[in-house]
Symmetry: C2
Subunit: 189 residues, 2 copies
């Protein structure tokens, strides 16, 4: 969305500010972790006024969600391969690549940080998770529209997402293609 | 173990120090989160010398693991009901109670904190997880010795532990007895 925005309005101030702020947040997250910096520190690093950030995002929690959602949507968009098994296999591979990549367990870390950040944190967390769930639901709805018999979103969370995250979190075993295929087959059985 | 230690040797200095240090760690974790305090702060709160802590635990990471492992072993010991389905149901109920209780996602939080705490952190994390895995393996070994056909430890992690943790972490759905039974039945199918 960022890229498209910049393509439509090259050099637009709003897009420049957004890119600078996202970069500042990404840097602070990797240096200190979620929840260990303030809006003022983001603003200083991005070279913009605190007030610009508050006007645009409302609070730090909403800003953190926006940054992670933008990156996830760019790096791991929901697949649309034309078949449910194809979509689930691609989805599993995307998630596995994401959680073993440089961002690692960013979703888990952000979720934990937001869970402990009061009402605004919980609201940002719920909006973030709801958006990811909507995207997954849309993928499953396309399968149903094609006459396939998809699992529900919670089934995908329980038996595809959860094992992948836990294996990384607990360093419990490698995410091989065979392992990921096994999860998808079990989910579809 | 702490309580038993004090009962066996009432007033023993070693047991008193251990209890005071565990209490100090628990307080600091709940106030600031894992990874956001030093050995010196634990020592000051517990009223003991830094050197006592280093002599006994070696480093902060090993101390954190010891505290959490002690609490888990006290609050959620591995069941031994005499049957595999009974053990797995009790285990699932214990984990569900633990992750929805006041300590919440302590295991996930500690694991993340230790993962980012250098070599000593990774070592403490791996020892902590290996100990929990040994306990689970012992439960599954007892089932095999009785002639039952248990899943392996990774199967329990993937399809019993992982969904329970993820549902709490992502606030995705309630951990009802029916839901937990469904996970166990699916694991045994």
């Amino acid at each position: 969305m960022d890229e498209q925005g910049r393509a439509r309005r090259p050099g637009g101030r709003s897009a420049r500010v957004r890119a600078a702020v996202h970069q500042a947040v990404t840097g602070l997250v990797s240096e200190r972790g979620y929840g260990n910096f303030t809006v003022g520190e983001v603003a200083a690093r991005a070279g913009v006024a605190d007030t610009s950030l508050y006007r645009r995002w409302g609070n730090l929690e909403a800003l953190l969600s926006d940054v992670l959602l933008t990156r996830l949507n760019a790096q791991a968009p929901m697949p649309d391969t034309g078949s449910l098994p194809g979509d689930l296999r691609t989805y599993a591979a995307n998630v596995a690549r994401e959680v073993t990549g440089p961002d690692g367990l960013a979703v888990v870390r952000l979720t934990i940080a937001l869970s402990g950040a009061g009402r605004q944190g919980l609201q940002a967390r719920d909006e973030f998770l709801a958006e990811r769930r909507r995207q997954l639901q849309a993928m499953l709805d396309r399968a149903r529209d094609r006459g396939e018999d998809p699992p529900d979103v919670l089934g995908v969370l329980d038996h595809l997402l959860a094992p992948i995250y836990m294996r990384v979190l607990f360093d419990a075993g490698p995410l091989t293609p065979d392992y990921l295929d096994g999860l998808v087959n079990r989910l579809l059985a």
